[in-house]
Structures are given as structure tokens and as C-alpha cells.
Amino acid sequence: MANIRIEHVYKHYGKEKHPVVKDFNLDIRDKEFIVFVGPSGCGKSTMLRMIAGLEEITEGGIYIDDQLVNHLPPKDRDISMVFQNYALYPNLSVFENIAFGLRMRKLPKYEIELAVKKASRILEIESYLSRKPRQLSGGQRQRVALGRAIVRNPKLFLMDEPLSNLDAKLRVTMRMEIIKLHQDLKTTFIYVTHDQAEAMTMADRIVVMRDGIIQQIDTPERIYSLPSNTFVAGFIGSPQINLIEGRIQANARGDLEFVTSRLRIAIHEANAELLRKHERVDRTVLLGIRPENISLEALFSDAVITGKYRFTELMGADRFIYLDIGQEQLLSARVSPSVRFEPGASVRLGIDSLKTLFFHPDTGERFAD
């Protein structure tokens, strides 16, 4: 049970000019599952390590349950952490690995035994308690690492890319197990990953980071549908969101249109109001539209886009097609898997104009209400 408050945290390494983490502010509620996500080198792991106490804080404060923990050593923070490479003690058996933290805290023998048994039952690793880590597979090792984390009943769980060493199938299984673990343990989790799928599936709230700066903190749904800038929009979602540069113009009837050299797309009334408010008429903007909002089904709408078919990616339930619309990047769209096109064919697709997003062409910020 823990509320965590992170206030204006900075991290500088040595004499380097640019901070690794810059003005990080976050309030984490009790029992929340928070995911830090971002490309490698964005400072997410450093931030996690500062919360753990493994890294010193250059500036700012971290509070666990309103207690300032800046100078508290890791062992006194009542936290546990799961590492990317599991960090199991190779010289100790699985039982001893899980019991290590309890032994260090000098718990009576019977309590240790009970706690280890309980943790191993939850994670279904009872049958190999006497084995050494080297005799386990990657997935089993990860379970032991989780066992070592949960056995102490800490206030806060920290996980640093725990699934990135596992193969794709196992990763999905373990992802679900961690979600289940969070539901069962009812404890605060902070989870670091560079995998947007993990962030989207597990988090109560996602913190998207880039170059040490928080880009957006929000629920997965809102991060996906209302990204604060082009970076977040591009980082979350696969295939990536389509970004098209063009001008906003009013037509003869006074309705706003998005215009490029080859396209003319009608803008939905709700968005038109927004663009007028931000004074973007007769100026350039970036239009963002996710592949699933461009489709053959939306052809009845007044926002139609035509492009030359290039190639396709079949995902099983969906097929993504890539069209050349005279922009630098190809436009991706989701269609039914049964639809096929000839290479070079001209394809007309409809855009769900209510789902279009508009970004500032220079700053990349989304125009919001």
C-alpha cells in the first residue's frame, strides 16, 4: 500500500550538460499500475532506479507515503524490484533465492518457510524449489524473480523490463500473469518497458517519456486516442499513426478542408471549430489519422483519400495496406483480410474524419480544447 509522489526530479550524470531526467513530476495512487514507456535512453529506467534508491537524485524529491526517501537506502524503502536479466543468485537454490530477502531481515525460520511456500504456490514454481537457477528455463527464472519480489509483501513493486528477455509467446503469457498478480496483491506497481503493447495492456496509467522529459501521463485509452504530441502519437500504436502535412483552407461554402498537393479532405465540424480557435485557417498543420480509421467501409464519408497501392501486411484478423499518396511516408490503412489489390492499383479509402487529430507542424503539439 503506497502513494508515491515524485516532485521536480532531475538527474545529471557527472558534468554532462543535459540531464538524463528533467523535471519529473508524478503522483502515483495506491494500488495503481503505472508504466513508464519510451525509446531506449529516454530516462525511464533511471527514474525507476531513483525510486528504488539505486541511483542518487540530483534535484527534487521522491516521497513514499509522504515520507521523503531521497537519502533512504534501498533496503529501508520497503520495495522490491524485478530486473531485466532476472538477477537470480546463481549460487543459491530457488528456495534460497526467494528466501534471501527474508533471511536478511532475520525472520524466524518457520515464517520464511511459510512465505516462500505461499509465493511459490502463487507462481506455480513449487516443484523446482530445490533447483539452481541455471537449471531453469527463461520463463521459470522470471517466475522465481517474481517470487523473490512478492515474498516480502513490499509496499511497492518495481519492474525494469522484466519480459524483454523472453520469447514473444511467453511474453504474452507472463504479461497476463503480472496483470493477475497485480489484481491479487493489490499493491502499487511501477513497470518500465520500451514495448508499447506491454504498456497498453497492463497499465492503469502510462507515462510516456522522451529524452528525460515526460511527454504525457494518461490512461492507455486516452494516450492512444488523444496523444499530446506527434511523438506520443507515433510511439503508441502499431502500425504507426499516419501524419500528413497540409494546409487548412475554407471552401466556397465556408467549410474547412485539409489540402495537400494531391489531397483534399473535408474536416469534421468538431475539428473545424478547434482549428478556428487555434487560428490555423490558411496555415499548415499535421494531420494524424490511425490506420484503423481509414477504411473501405468509411467510403460513404466526405473525407476520401486516393493513393497507389504499394504493399500489404496480413496480421491474421486484419490486413494493413500501404498507399503512396505523394507524401514522404506511405499511408497505412486497415482493411478486411479478404481484400486484395494489384500492385500499382489506385485505391480509394474513406477517412473517419471525427477521428482525425491535428498537430502543430513545428512543435508537434496536438491542438486540444
Binding site: G53, F83, N85, Y86, A87, L88, N91, R148
Partner: protein
């Protein structure tokens, strides 16, 4: 089973076979001195001096052992005293050297402190010095500290083992930081990290340092010759060196000397064989990804 056998035969290609043969010959060659020493100890006098010398004993006898016992029973200081000194000094040296080297290696590898690089460079530099170079300063230090004729006078000069520090530092650098961090979060103290994680993980290197240190101290003659004036403080290798020296002819006591050589060699061999298993076992299954 058949397939397995066929596969293992197929794996023996000609270059591989040649390699194995060469290595086997090499191993036999390295083994020769040991075979000679063991066999020598059981040779009767006439065989000891046969020319050309023969490797394997023809008529083994225990006569040399009896001779050694007779020589020592006649002297004021019994052989057991020399052995006791040697065992005590070697045990203390191995224990202390291993602890000191491991602690030093751990600090150099995992505890950043100012001047760490210079300190390590100095230790590596020590590797260059031949023992003879430091003999006089060492004498002055031991005498200045008033350690003449004491056990610390034997032990102290052998404690600093630059090779050991170097080896353990290199090994401990390989320990993933995450392992130590995990233990730190689990509540281990810095000394706990060293004792419960770093040392067990680096067991092969620790065992190697123990072997090196044992060899260094068990066969050491220097401390007995220079720092000990009283005979009862001297060690077994010193006793061995006196067996045949200072005698009018070079035939007498050769049998006893052969046995004494075996006694010096045996612990070295046993110690190595015991620890070698541990070394290989830990090396193979380090379990770190």
C-alpha cells in the same frame, strides 16, 4: 545409442584427433616430474644412483622412509616441528591471502572510490618485480617491525599476492551489477553482498587464488632462511634443504631427501586436486546469463 556413438566417432576428425594426441603427449610430459618424485622415494640406494637414471622404480622399498625417520629422531628438533610450522603457516597464509585478495578485488571492481585506477595500476606493476628484488627491503621491514623469529614474520611477507588481487578483480567485474542491486534491495549490507554474493559467484577465482597462495607458502624457503634464526621456527622446505647440504659427500641421505621431496609435493598435489574440481564445477555452471 548407436547413433550417439556414431556421432561421437564422426566428430573425431583428423585435426581433432591430432590435437588430442598432441595434448595427451604434452600432459604426459608435464606429469613426468611428479612420477619421478613418487617413484624416486621408493628406490633402494643402488637404484638411486644408477646411470643413466631410471624413471620407474624396479624394487620398491620403504627403506628411505625409515632413514628419514632415523635422521630426524636423532636431531634436537623433531621433523614434526618443521611440519607443524609449515602447516600452520600455510593455513594462515592461504586463509588470510584469499580473504585479503577477495576484499581488495571486490573493492577495486565494484566500489568506486577516488584513486581506484592508480591503486590497481600499482598492484599490477608489482607483478613485474622478481622476488629477489624486494628481498632486502623486505628484510628491513620484517626486522623493523620486530617480527624476526615469529610466525607473523613467516606469514606477513606472503600475504600480498598481486596475482590474486588481479585475478579476483577481473572476475568480480564480471558479476552483473543487477545481482548486487537485487541483494541490496533484499536488505543485504555491503559486507553481506561481498560474502553472500560476490565470493560464492567468484568461487573458481577464489579457489585459484587459494591454490596459488598455498603453493607460494608451502614451498617457501625465503622466510625461514632470512627471518628466522632459531631452528624450531623454521619450516619443512628448509629442513629439506639442509638434509643433503653441509655434508662431506653427496651420496649420503639421498634416499631421505627423496622421501622428503615427496612429502613437500604431496600436499600441493592434494590441495590442487581438491580445489580443481570446485574450480571446474563452478566455471561450467556459473548460471549467469
Amino acid at each position: 545409442m548407436n547413433v550417439l556413438l556414431r556421432n561421437s566417432i564422426r566428430r573425431f576428425t583428423l585435426p581433432r584427433l591430432l590435437f588430442v594426441v598432441v595434448m595427451l603427449l604434452f600432459a604426459v610430459f608435464m606429469l613426468l616430474p611428479i612420477v619421478f618424485i613418487v617413484s624416486h622415494a621408493f628406490k633402494p640406494y643402488d637404484e638411486l644412483f644408477v646411470y643413466p637414471p631410471e624413471f620407474i622404480v624396479r624394487r620398491p622399498t620403504t627403506q628411505n622412509f625409515i632413514e628419514l625417520a632415523q635422521i630426524t629422531s636423532g636431531s634436537i628438533i623433531p621433523i614434526s616441528r618443521y611440519l607443524f610450522n609449515s602447516i600452520l603457516i600455510s593455513a594462515a597464509t592461504v586463509l588470510l591471502t584469499t580473504i585479503i585478495s577477495a576484499m581488495c578485488g571486490y573493492a577495486l571492481a565494484k566500489q568506486p572510490f577516488p584513486g581506484r585506477k592508480i591503486l590497481f595500476a600499482t598492484i599490477v606493476l608489482m607483478l613485474m618485480f622478481a622476488p629477489e628484488v624486494v628481498q632486502i627491503p623486505r628484510y628491513l621491514v620484517v626486522s623493523g617491525l620486530g617480527l624476526m623469529n615469529t610466525y607473523p614474520g613467516h606469514i606477513l611477507p606472503l600475504l600480498a599476492l598481486p596475482v590474486g588481487v588481479f585475478l579476483l578483480k577481473q572476475f568480480m567485474e564480471q558479476i552483473p551489477n543487477a545481482l548486487l542491486e537485487a541483494a541490496r534491495i533484499d536488505g543485504a549490507t555491503e559486507f553481506g553482498l561481498f560474502l553472500k554474493i560476490a565470493v560464492p559467484v567468484c568461487m573458481p577465482a577464489v579457489a585459484t587464488v587459494a591454490i596459488l597462495s598455498f603453493q607460494n607458502s608451502w614451498s617457501n624457503l625465503e622466510t625461514s632462511s632470512y627471518f628466522m634464526q632459531d631452528d624450531y621456527m623454521k619450516t619443512f622446505p628448509y629442513f629439506l634443504s639442509t638434509l643433503t647440504s653441509n655434508l662431506a659427500n653427496n651420496v649420503a641421505r639421498q634416499g631421505a631427501a627423496a622421501v622428503a621431496t615427496l612429502i613437500v609435493l604431496a600436499p600441493n598435489l592434494i590441495f590442487f586436486i581438491i580445489l580443481q574440481r570446485r574450480v571446474i564445477d563452478t566455471m561450467v555452471h556459473s548460471g549467469i546469463k
